[in-house]
């Protein structure tokens, strides 16, 4: 992984001890370990990571993680072993994340200064996938469904996915419930980025541990989704079938 760090990274911290003693370190460390992506909008954290990356990279490597700094301007921890614990985003989170990435790339979002509404997200998702496909994609194991209930379930799942993506630093939800898109969303587009064939790029990223293919974790469940499903009258077994995160610790 490339790590395009500033040349002056040693100016602020000469030793790892200085980095750890910095008052920003605990919260940045906790955020990274919980899967948070840190970009230029997190001004203080980002500046700290830029300055301390040289010291933190070997530190996190000892915990089985890589501190990655993308040229798009964000940091994150990539788990290379199960030492710290890792998980994979669920299918609904991936769908919403990729839709947000599409919106991030859309020129119309520029007019709004990089923010979109939840309705826009849902509209775009339904526009790309089609309403029926979207409902089936969000609840693939359900054999029969009422349209109204299924639509409500989609809305709930999208809202829940947005909330989770916000905790991971892919988006920020402001007080007016508008969704501010952040550069780390470009991670969702990595396999289709670049000049190489997407299949080859995906294979490389899978080998590096950035992604897993969806079939690999198809059997894993997601306990939190049971609650969301309960809210719309769906049994927990039925609701968790389609979710594929992993708690590998």
């Amino acid at each position: 992984m490339s790590s395009p760090l500033d040349n002056g990274s040693n100016a602020r911290f000469s030793r790892l001890e200085d980095v750890i003693l910095d008052e920003t370190y605990p919260e940045v460390d906790l955020a990274l370990r919980r899967g948070r992506h840190i970009d230029r909008d997190d001004i203080a954290w980002y500046a700290f990571l830029v300055d301390a990356a040289d010291h933190l990279e070997p530190l996190y490597r000892r915990f089985g993680c890589e501190l990655i700094h993308r040229t798009d301007g964000y940091f994150y921890l990539l788990p290379t072993s199960d030492a710290l614990g890792r998980r994979h985003l669920s299918s609904s989170e991936m769908l919403v994340g990729q839709t947000l990435t599409l919106l991030y790339l859309e020129p119309s979002t520029v007019e709004q200064g990089g923010t979109v509404t939840r309705e826009q997200v849902l509209g775009h998702l339904a526009g790309v996938l089609g309403a029926d496909s979207l409902m089936r994609a969000m609840s693939p194991k359900r054999r029969r469904y009422d349209e109204r209930v299924a639509q409500e379930a989609v809305r709930n799942k999208v809202a829940e996915s947005l909330r989770r993506l916000a905790t991971l630093g892919f988006v920020e939800i402001d007080q007016d419930e508008r969704v501010r898109l952040r550069p780390s969303l470009m991670r969702f587009a990595e396999p289709v980025r670049g000049t190489k064939a997407p299949e080859a790029a995906l294979a490389r990223l899978v080998a590096e541990g950035e992604f897993v293919l969806a079939e690999e974790d198809a059997e894993e469940g997601e306990p939190e989704d049971a609650q969301a499903a309960d809210a719309v009258g769906v049994g927990p077994d039925e609701a968790t079938d389609d979710e594929t995160p992993e708690e590998a610790s």
């Binding site: 919980r34 990729q98 020129p107 496909s133 079939e215």
Partner: protein
């Protein structure tokens, strides 16, 4: 009215413009009469409403333009009708529903007069045809649509300099004022009208600048839509020009508003020293306006700075790196399930640290007072089974053994020990027990005997049992 984007403009409600009172709405007034609640309730009572169609707005705009070009101060009825016909001819089909081509100027003029857009100015009544002029309300609306009234470096400099000059004169007048009339003519009037209007002019242009910024944002998006990579240079140009303008405006505002505040402060102090409350209030109102003007500059610069950074990042990271929009296309295809295999992102997910500990009451703290729990269920105790029938039989047997020779005697003995409410039932059971245990003789005609509590039973006599007979025989020599 047809806007630049081809949209129809129509005004539905613009209440603050419909207020027609004797003073300028924006002019600083004493705080008592500017109470927002009172003003709003008064406005609501008057029930102002505007309903202007595209045709109405175009008609007003045509009148405004003709008055401007021909230096007209009023229009005759023929002129109004003439302008209206021209507007109808110019209006594209579909922009305004024409009621079967029957629309005439008269109802339009009446509607505009009712909404105080046109006022009759001749005062001749029915003597001759009237003369009409556009009202201040109509002029304001049409200026909004027609004039490019936005804040520029030049217009702001002129306005702030005029304000500074005017305030300098007002301060001089305040220093020289010796009577109330001097204050009214030299300070209060100019503060309310001249300074208020100048500050209003800046605020109005600030609103125009806001609209222009919105337009720029739309334009940037439209440019990118139309010519993705080719629009980068033009977008950057727009960003830079707006940023420069905003920065210049903010510098002027920072510099000049400081001087304005200082002058106004002096006027206010002079008014306080002279005890002229009206002048102090007028100065304070202008101070508030100047504060608003300064705050606008800071707020807009901050907001624009965020937008500027975002768009630059977008142009650099998205547009320049993906000149053919391949990324968007590929991602869309993948999301739609038309290409590639589904994948999921890996992220770290360290479990939060858990500290297991005993729950202990902190030292020095008493445990909370709690009511002792009550045993809701009573504990069961062993009790011997109760057999009422056997008890009764024992009593009957005792009575018979005691020598009772008839049913009445036995019954009397037994029911004497029984509660009153059970005596009737017990009487029957006694008869049954006697029949079983004793050897009663019931004659065909049985005598009725009275018991306690009004009970009556048929009397049975007891035959002597075999044992009794044997005993009697032994006792008899």
């Amino acid at each position: 009215m047809i806007g630049p984007s081809g949209k129809n403009y129509a005004i539905c409600l613009l209440p603050h413009l419909a207020v027609s009172d004797n003073h300028t709405p924006h002019a600083p007034q004493p705080s008592q009469s500017r109470d927002p609640n009172r003003l709003l309730s008064s406005l609501a009572q008057r029930g102002p409403a505007l309903d202007l169609s595209t045709l109405d707005l175009c008609f007003l705009a045509a009148l405004y333009l003709r008055a401007e070009r021909a230096a007209l101060t009023s229009f005759s009825e023929e002129q109004l009708a003439d302008v209206f016909e021209q507007v109808e001819g110019v209006l594209p089909a579909g922009a305004e529903p024409r009621a079967a081509n029957k629309r005439r100027a008269t109802p339009a003029i009446r509607r505009l007069r009712e909404q105080r857009m046109i006022a009759r100015v001749d005062g001749a009544g029915i003597v001759r045809a009237g003369e009409y002029a556009l009202t201040r309300l109509a002029n304001g609306i049409i200026e909004f649509f027609l004039e490019d009234d936005t804040l520029t470096r030049e217009s702001l400099t002129v306005l702030t300099r005029s304000l500074l000059l005017g305030l300098g004169e007002i301060l001089a007048a305040a220093n020289a004022a010796v009577c109330e009339e001097d204050w009214r003519m030299g300070v209060i009037g100019p503060l309310r009208i001249t300074m208020g209007d100048l500050a209003n002019g800046i605020e109005r242009r600030q609103c125009g600048f806001d609209l222009q910024q919105e337009e720029f944002q739309r334009e940037i998006a439209a440019l990118l839509h139309a010519d993705w990579f080719g629009a980068v240079a033009r977008c950057q140009e727009l960003l830079e020009s707006t940023s420069t303008t905003l920065s210049e405006l903010n510098q002027i505002l920072l510099r000049d508003t400081h001087q304005l505040q200082s002058l106004l402060q002096d006027v206010q102090e002079r008014a306080v020293a002279s005890g002229i409350a009206e002048a102090e209030a007028a100065a304070r109102a202008v101070v508030d306006q100047v504060d608003r003007i300064a705050a606008w500059g800071a707020a807009r610069q901050r907001a624009w700075s965020e937008y500027y950074q975002y768009v630059h990042r977008y142009l650099r990271d998205v547009v320049r790196l993906d000149p053919a929009r391949t990324l968007t296309h590929r991602l869309r295809e993948h999301l739609a399930g038309k290409a590639g295999r589904a994948y999921a992102l890996s992220i770290t997910s360290a479990a939060p640290i858990r500290l297991l500990r005993e729950v202990e009451v902190p030292p020095g703290e008493k445990p909370p007072v709690r009511r002792p729990r009550k045993q809701r269920e009573q504990a069961l105790a062993d009790a011997p089974p109760e057999n009422a029938q056997s008890k009764l039989e024992a009593r009957v047997r005792g009575a018979l053994a005691g020598g009772a020779g008839a049913l009445g005697a036995v019954t009397e003995t037994v029911i004497a020990e029984v509660p009153e409410e059970e005596r009737f039932v017990t009487t029957g059971r006694v008869a049954h027990a006697v029949a079983r245990l004793g050897n009663p003789h019931a004659a065909a005609e049985r005598e009725w005997v009275a018991m306690r509590d009004g009970l009556m039973i048929e009397e049975w006599t007891m035959r002597a049992t075999q044992a009794q007979t044997g005993q009697e025989e032994k006792e008899t020599p």
